[in-house]
Symmetry: C2
Subunit: 472 residues, 2 copies
């Protein structure tokens, strides 16, 4: 690559900054909505309209403009019903023409599209201090205030670089689909380390359970106990008992750390703008055959009004259950992937090592140290028809050589109880298939699935810049 | 099976008791040697001749008679040289005609064959208390005395049953070859639990790190710290800082516990007298092919005067090193076996899962939690020609799909440094072969190796009484 790091980042800073036109349009839109809300809303409690989110913090990416318009209501016992009756129903008729949809998170809120801008109109409790906040959205105004009190226009460029980097490597966003870095977390990291490159340098030193204290002092041991098992711990400067990084999974953390390391070694635009890759089914099958693997797909259907977070949550839960069941039955699963259009279909893909599939016999291993479980293991296998040998191995561990009941992972999955293992409350299994053409057919040859499965099969992310394996 | 347990044990008790003739011959032989030693030995320090070991304790098995004749010498600074000059050289001329051999353990000693009885003549320091003992043999007279002070003739029958049981399941003897239960340990367990069946019942409750206190009270926590990592801890009643069970490996312990459980479930003579099994090479190959395995043999040669304990020690060390190397290279090794005639040849056998051999690609897995090792893993595999994919898996662990350099474990072993991995000070590698006929040829078709390898391939011990797998 050998691009000049400074030039690369300078160019990106310019590219990522929203245009004056965008900013003006955003502000106009906000003023318009603020006036509209003030003219329509009549509440018997105090309220104010305020602009929150990345636009309010000046950290939005060019072309990625969306507005968070909050209605902060001075009523401690805000209920879903009260908001629906007094806020949503009052505003909805006048907002209808802006593609308004009513959605539900902690509270009901309205999504709009005004002047080509996506807008969320979010009613929240008007907390006077962060400690008074009842829900995550109630805390948002304090985050906006904190970030604005710390950011300069130079720092805002650095936030945008970091956001774009996280997006490029696929770890931006706290939603269940991504389990990555939220906008607020990205801003805090920039505030903490001062600029984009310093954040990346710091990240290369991170380990699992990393604690990052943005300001002031904290007892790291207490934080680790408070946020047990969190891969990354960043106490919220406005509420230290909250972990801003609680959504960050081990996977997102590891990707961020390794990509940071790789970027500092080989700076490239690839990290910010990964090339798209779409392989033909024949090419995908060639790669799989060439490395002795197969991809087993489980296709699911769900109702269009299912919230993405719930859908991804159920999909993850099913995939974990099935992965454990497959492993217990000695199928070597190289990787698991989840895809969804977030509208009607979702897919779980298992990347299966074929040599484990072709294995007819399997050695099952008892407890590594002698315990009651060792006797239970003996009792379990001594009477099984499938046990071909049962002995105490060189290492003192009881082992059983058994004939596998299923040599095909698909047959094995089909043998499982559908309700208990294969489906969930909102997800219906449509098919299990190892034939990609069949899968694509069932998904009406959706382009984005083909792209996604290409990446899943190639496995190596472009930013890895594997010496011998350039992206096809 | 359904044999009557009481009848079975009664019959065995009778069978195992030495005959009056044997006992008389043993005592005569001892008296003869005692007189001979007294008439020949002229030392400037005090000494006495005493009978030790299982014959002295009345716990020898019928037909297994051998005598331990100790020369206890009242000289604290007993050296190898002093013993050789003053004891061995003085006695040797008169003992020569009894197939005398001079051997070396803690001290030099003489082995004889007199009246069809194997005799060890063992010079030792005449300690007045166990604490004064310098070596294990110095402690022996105290063991003899302790055991005789506790055993009745009924208990001696129980000791013999337990010894025969341990022999039958292959865990009798503290030598490195077996790493099992010594005669003294067998006696202590009988003293502790009162009879054979009670020992077996107690053993079924044992777990790794089990502490058995024969008499008095001990602090279990302190014992566990003192004998860290010992699978079984039995403080010596005559010297509580010594673990009588220190030789017992996890394997011997597990075999003893599981066989006890199985015996109580299905009492049978098989435990005491395992049927011999000798399969043809064709039959062995059928079993291996039928379960997708192969046996890779490493044949070693050594000099005839090499002490068995040293030979077995070196053989174990080589096998452990090679096992780790094979595992690191993703060969799935089901089991490891060691055989030797203790005269000139030794063999290490690896029971190899063929599906792992036929695997051309292998997934290497980085640290399970993000740490510096994760970055090192990336750096290591990102530049390797054999890396086909490098990615962060669903579980957040960095993984590499790599082409295996060796798909044949024999090729892999041959690529290793001979001196560092394949050989040791006293063991010379003769050949590596996966062809049993070739191996048998190299070992001059030794019957005992064929029997041993039959057991190694069948794996299930006869006492397991696997429902579906009767011994062929």
């Amino acid at each position: 690559m050998g691009v000049d790091l400074k030039d690369l980042l300078d160019e990106l800073r310019k590219e990522l900054r929203p245009t004056d036109e965008e900013v003006a349009r955003g502000l106009e839109t906000y003023e318009f909505l603020k006036d509209l809300i003030h003219s329509k809303l009549r509440l018997d409690v105090d309220f104010k309209v305020s602009l929150e989110g990345s636009f309010a913090k000046g950290t939005a990416l060019k072309g990625d403009l969306d507005l968070d318009v909050f209605i902060l209501i001075d009523k401690e016992d805000l209920s879903k019903e009260w908001i629906e009756e007094n806020v949503i129903r009052r505003l909805y008729p006048d907002l209808k023409k802006y593609e308004a949809h009513i959605k539900y998170a902690a509270h009901p809120y309205i999504t709009l599209r005004v002047n080509n801008i996506d807008v969320d109109v979010v009613p929240a409790y008007w907390a006077k201090t962060p400690a008074e906040a009842k829900t995550a959205v109630d805390r948002t105004p304090f985050h906006t205030r904190f970030v604005n009190s710390r950011l300069t226009s130079e720092l805002r460029d650095e936030v945008r670089l970091l956001k774009k980097f996280f997006k490029g490597i696929g770890v931006y966003g706290a939603e269940i689909k991504v389990e990555g870095f939220s906008g607020y977390l990205t801003e805090l990291l920039t505030i903490k380390y001062g600029d984009f490159l310093s954040v990346l340098k710091a990240m290369t030193q991170w380990v699992e359970g990393q604690v990052v204290v943005v300001e002031g002092t904290h007892n790291v041991e207490i934080l680790r106990k408070l946020f047990l098992n969190a891969p990354l711990i960043v106490p919220d400067p406005v509420d230290p008992y909250r972990n801003v990084a609680s959504a960050v999974s081990r996977r997102s953390l590891t990707i961020a750390v390794l990509a940071s390391h790789r970027f500092l070694e080989k700076p490239s635009k690839i990290f910010f703008k990964p090339p798209r890759m779409k392989l033909s089914v024949d090419r995908i099958n060639d790669i799989l055959n060439g490395t002795n693997r197969e991809v087993m797909c489980l296709i699911y259907e769900f109702k269009p009004d299912l919230s993405p977070d719930i859908m991804w949550g159920e999909l993850k839960k099913i995939s974990r259950k099935l992965l454990n069941a497959l492993k217990m039955n000695n199928f070597n699963i190289i990787d698991v992937g989840l895809w969804s259009d977030e509208k009607s279909h979702a897919v779980i893909t298992f990347d299966v090592d074929l040599s484990s599939v072709r294995q007819a016999y399997v050695v099952r291993v008892g407890p590594s140290k002698l315990c009651n479980g060792s006797i239970n293991f003996l009792s379990k296998y001594v009477s099984r028809e499938s046990t071909k040998a049962l002995w105490i191995s060189y290492d003192g561990v009881i082992k059983a050589l058994t004939r596998k009941r299923y040599t095909d992972p698909k047959d094995f999955l089909m043998s499982l109880d559908k309700e208990r293992y294969l489906e969930s409350k909102d997800l219906r299994l449509v098919m299990i298939s190892k034939d990609l053409n069949e899968v694509l057919n069932a998904l009406s040859f959706r382009e984005d699935f083909i792209e996604w499965v290409s990446v899943f099969v190639v496995k190596t992310p472009a930013w890895m810049m594997l010496n011998t394996n350039p992206p096809p």
